[in-house]
Symmetry: C2
Amino acid sequence: MTKTSKKKATIYDLSVLSGSSPSTVSAVLNGTWQKRRIKESTAALIRDLAETHQYTANRQARGLRSSRSGLIGLLLPVHDNRYFSSMAQTFEAHVRSKGQCPIVVSASRDPEEERKTAETLISYSIDELFICGATDPDGVHEVCETVGLKHINIDLPGTKVPSVISDNYQGGRMLTEAIIRHFPADQPLRPDELYLFGGRDDHASRERIRGFRAVKRELLGEDPDGCIQPTGYAPNNARLAFEAFYEKHGKLPRGVFINSSINFEGLLRFMAGHPHENFADLTVGCYDYDPFASFLPFPVIMIRQDVEGMITKAFEVIEEGRPQPRIHLISPELVQPRTALTGPLDALKDIG
Amino acid sequence: MTKTSKKKATIYDLSVLSGSSPSTVSAVLNGTWQKRRIKESTAALIRDLAETHQYTANRQARGLRSSRSGLIGLLLPVHDNRYFSSMAQTFEAHVRSKGQCPIVVSASRDPEEERKTAETLISYSIDELFICGATDPDGVHEVCETVGLKHINIDLPGTKVPSVISDNYQGGRMLTEAIIRHFPADQPLRPDELYLFGGRDDHASRERIRGFRAVKRELLGEDPDGCIQPTGYAPNNARLAFEAFYEKHGKLPRGVFINSSINFEGLLRFMAGHPHENFADLTVGCYDYDPFASFLPFPVIMIRQDVEGMITKAFEVIEEGRPQPRIHLISPELVQPRTALTGPLDALKDIG
DNA sequence: CTTGTTTGCACAATCGATGGTGCAAAGACT
DNA sequence: AGTCTTTGCACCATCGATTGTGCAAACAAG
């Protein structure tokens, strides 16, 4: 093994080896050499040396000097959720295709944590920040703003910079209508048989609930307040709500609108403790898509949010010079029961 | 707003404001000030200024000087998979608790991509790298080794550094046995009725298959080679395998061992095109856990790998000075049908 | 052969933090 | 008062890359 090992080559090493100055080496290797009128032969020599010595630039040094890092951040509530992890997957692909490095971090839906996490990312001089599903997007905005960091909201809107979000009102309407229409005309759903569980007081939940209530009134004529059960996002709280309902009525509602797949897990936990027959006449609509959920023993109608569309839009908007803080709505898609959609994973090569 | 805005405060700013030298400011703010015999009052003053001016250290500068970045990397095959995303979630919590910054990146199971991704992370001077589910762990090892970067394998073993992996042989045995025993004694499974689908020629698949075959021979006395269908990880390949089987036999096997939840999605795709009755007598064992899958209309026995245990072990091992390249096996857990387990998400606060 | 222009590159400052070294002032001791 | 310690901090080189500027050599024009 040559002296290559253990210590990475720097432009100074290559400078000695090539007989050129460090600045020349730098220029050659970062592509600005034409502008600096470096001879093609000199450039070729240096590129060659770089190759054989496996030179790669020290990004910390580059970042320090240029105050750019090549890092683009994505702030998520959590990783282990199908929706957000597909956000991460899609985001990563986009960032990589721009030749930059994605850095995905979660902040547990905690406003304080969100801000601190953003601060940390900023201390690494990230170039842009995508704020996804943040509980307090404007709080994060503050810390970005003071250092002039480009940022954008996804999934939950803020008021200071553009937001790309799912059309939750429309999605809520679609899903509610689909649930109602799923019941045969001779056994129609009564208003007090259609409940909504999960979500809390965030923009997405509010919009979905608004859509739910509007459609319910339009199609069923009525919408008792008690049918809305915003239990938060924790699966166990949702479970408790189902348990409570069951205690009181001896059964579940025939129609259930569940605010997210995480809440849906609350229903699963309920199911684990109750026999099959409780679910014979149940139709669920879930505002999230999960292929396994789609094949449960009762009809599950789902909403798939257009993650690819949102990320694409977000990149478009963030590239604009001075984007207005408007909200860009991306339409979600209704998924009928027993449907196995393809996802980003299908793009992977797998030569078995 | 004070002059604080737009540009981050540096130790030089604080140095001017406090009347001390930059090195003093640096020492105070990075905790080495006692060693440098800085007066408590001086330190207090500087801390105060730092506070009011919202100073945070520029990590690129610090990293450049100290050749450490505070970043710890996790290399994943993909994000949008329950197993790997819970890896990410758990990993992140551990790293944060050490006061460092997690950086999670996926490399699509592509050896070339894995190496390039590692190179990129290295160029940011990450301090440690956790290589999870890599197709070619030893390839990644090479690039880590040349720069002296601490690293460890998770989920799929390498031969050069320690590996923390699931006990796939044992898990394969458990799952196979559970499938067989799930059939009533009066309608026992025949050897040619128990198939394995999915996976490819990686260590995990091989071990699971070894466990599968061993138990099959022990309990059913025989194990025709045709019962092993390593279709790779792509859902669609698995689907095609199911379709092919169905074409040939007019039904599915009664017992199916599926190598991963991703492959399981292949079965879902098959199901979407076939009526319910094809699954009346089906029992599935899946080497992965997904709560929704656990409640499908046919019995689904699952294996949950101990992600928390693996990550914890990995951190322990990587802290050791010169760890031997041995393999640490972590036992997975058998999950009976219709079971909704809790996960990392349950730790989140959610005050609805 | 002189003057002007272009080519090709070297020099040196800079980004922000770190840490070894040196040195004045304050205190201890004789 | 003189010497020795200790205290408290400033100075400066350094990490590796970027970039504005300067300048000699090569070449062109007159």
